[in-house]
């Protein structure tokens, strides 16, 4: 029974990590006032590049570098358009997603069916030996640890540092931030780069850990769920952690329900995460209408200095 529960808990962590990575990146981007709807595209390109990189070099760690670089490059393309050319952020994000799906398809076409390279788990000495908790908490791959560290780091950055204060100020009122003397576009560019790298990492996680192979369209809307998670989290890192694990749990339990054959058509169970996203968005949006902690005031607005 414990083994079963532990196995489920481990798969939940694995399913949650890509959502968490992408969401935490998007959270920083949105805090700076930019709505990046290209997460899905950056994620899938990260997955393809990560897989290709690992195949070329034989190292999953090199694959991770490829994945984050690919996400970063695509995010800079997004930044060029929405920052320098001040294009519509919704449309630009969509074009990044469409472009990303195309590029990933091109990159990955030679790798369909090729067995992948899996990122090893790193057991933390001593701690991983603790009965029950050890394997659950301290025997993961690098990216799981990194995702948790990113949550803590992002929380500290936003709440405690001047750089974080600057990011929040730029997202709240870009005209004032400009008047005070901040370079609004530079701050946003950095945030977008961070978001792109995180999305790339999330994609790399999919193709190097979660299901170590290349499958067409393997991000399956996770980038979009990550964007929804940011809304769910109310733009707060710790709540994004909770949200990502909640969604990870829904994803996994749905799988287990399918495997157990509960008598509900598998398609309905597969639709569960998407329906859950909608329900959560509706509930959160409805409850936030009258309370504070709303979206950054400049979210989605182009800024021309």
């Amino acid at each position: 029974m414990f083994d079963m529960a532990q196995a489920i808990a481990l798969t939940i962590i694995a399913a949650s990590t890509p959502l968490l990575l992408a969401a935490i990146g998007e959270l920083v981007v949105e805090r700076s006032g930019v709505l990046n709807l290209g997460v899905e595209g950056m994620m899938i390109v990260g997955a393809a590049a990560g897989f290709a990189g690992a195949q070329l070099t034989g190292s999953a760690y090199a694959g991770i570098l490829f994945a984050l670089a690919a996400g970063g490059v695509l995010s800079m393309l997004f930044a060029l358009l929405v920052l320098f050319f001040a294009t519509n952020q919704v449309a630009t994000g969509l074009s990044i997603t469409l472009l990303g799906i195309g590029i990933a398809g091109l990159l990955g076409q030679g790798f369909v069916g090729v067995p992948g390279v899996k990122l090893d788990a790193i057991a933390i000495p001593l701690l991983s030996e603790i009965p029950l908790l050890g394997p659950l908490l301290f025997r993961h791959d690098l990216l799981v640890y990194l995702s948790i560290a990113l949550v803590a780091g992002t929380w500290y950055l936003l709440a405690r540092t001047r750089l974080g204060l600057t990011i929040r100020a730029v997202g709240d009122n870009h005209a004032s931030a400009h008047a005070i003397g901040y370079n609004v576009l530079a701050v946003r560019c950095l945030a977008i780069l961070f978001g792109g790298i995180c999305a790339g990492l999330a994609g790399g996680y999919l193709s190097l850990v979660y299901t170590p192979q290349w499958v067409e369209g393997m991000s399956a809307g996770r980038g979009w769920i990550a964007v929804a998670l940011v809304v769910f989290a109310g733009w707060r890192p710790l709540r994004a952690l909770a949200g990502a694990y909640l969604f990870g749990a829904v994803l996994i339990l749905q799988f287990h329900a399918q495997a157990a054959g509960v008598g509900i058509p598998s398609q309905f169970l597969s639709a569960l995460p998407y329906i859950a996203t909608i329900v959560v968005l509706v509930v959160i949006s409805a409850s936030r209408r009258s309370a504070s902690g709303a979206a950054p005031a400049c979210l989605g607005q182009p800024f021309v200095p």
Binding site: L165, R168, D172, N173, A179, I180
Partner: protein
Amino acid sequence: MTDERIPLLEAVEVTKRFGSFVANDRVSLRLFGGEVHALLGENGAGKSTLVKCFFGINRPDGGSIRWRGQAVEVASPAKARELGIGMVFQHFSLFDALTVAENIAVALPMSMSVARVAGELAAISARYGLPLKPDAVVADLSAGERQRVEIVRCLMQNPDLIIMDEPTSVLTPQEVEDLFAMLQQLTAEGRAILYISHKLDEVRRLCQRATVLRLGKVVADCDPAQVPKAELARMMVGETVHAARPAGLAQAGEDALVVDRLSLPAASLFGTDLREISFSLPAGRVSAIAGIAGNGQSELFAALSGERPCAPDTAIRLFGRPAGRLGIVERRRMNADFISEDRLGHATAPDLTLGENILVTRAKTDPALLNRGVLVMRRAAAISDRIRKAFDVRTAARDPLARALSGGNLQKYVVGRAVDRDPALLVVNQPTWGVDAGAAAHIRRTLVDLAKNGAAILVISQDLDEIYEIADRIAVLCAGRLSDFHPAAGLTAERIGLMMSGSGGPAAGQVAHHVA
């Protein structure tokens, strides 16, 4: 007049152009420590442009700036602060979602942490009498408190020169007194204040020197207390401005609008609830509602115009008929019209042309503009042309985008679009906010003329001078409550000031006492 002291800041023939428009034309001025120096001029005279050059936001196209006798290049606001120049902005440059301490820290060098700022805040607050809570979120503060945050933010950098852009425009008369006391304390410490204003009384009272700007050029440099007020006004404006006089019909007409115990919860989180508002507007009179913005003006306008219909239906009666639940289009059809505060974005769509903007308020009220649901653009363009001519709206092209017009010209267009319909009731929110003197005079005259022809006019305004100039009767809106209307003659500014700050009951006897 020569002065042998070395000026703290000296501008030598500073020129700033925007395209072909010369905003500052070889402007020179000298500023000394321990003085309040006024920069006087109408809206659009180039005051803000000039100080933005001093503060490193604008870069001059010619001339030089000297700081303590040395030529300097103020490349950025950071550089300005490094020199010892601080600025308090006219439109607050605060961040609503951040706390007071964060708002201050964000403008300071990167080495200042929020925690340290919170500590130093207490000291400065006590020293200059500027009470502030470091953890309060700025969105929850009043206009006066927000200005305090701006000032503390500026003082935190211990500047030698403080630039203040129209600091009293959002303050009650009592808050103005506090501000002046603090400015005197600052100059006593040897600091210089560059005080931008177009209010002559203030400047004559507070400032030791004044530089007068008109159309981007320096027209005078003087001691404002020594120059007669009329002379200063003439220097600023250039021509004599016709004052509109409150002379409506000899007899007030019937009530065009009756509001009966109107209560309306705020639509947004930071809005103001309207509480039990009752009043009536007689035809042939200009009635005015004074008060600092943010006390329910926008909410009252939305309720009166029908942008936010309200219950019960009888809370608002238009020409005798219950109209609370009617929308803005139905109310316009009853020959009322409305002019919102924000001319660009609310009264007009910025990216539509003037012709298209005619449709915004008139497509549903003017049958000639709609032919079985299809727009008749020719008619709209013709109406737009008529308004441009009748109301002296100056445009570069025949049918430009609304955003291409200057504030004054766009406001004339917006007023013209409503007045052209010859409405029997006109509600105007802030009719001349941020408009140059010539356009403001034109607009006020138009409103008075409309009242003379028998319309009921309601002006919601922050500008007491304006209200005194055109209103027959005055009430004050404070924290969502409206006082009774009083005849304009016999109501002192001091009395209105007390009512604005919520501390003066509108008892008629007391008013009489003040007049006596």
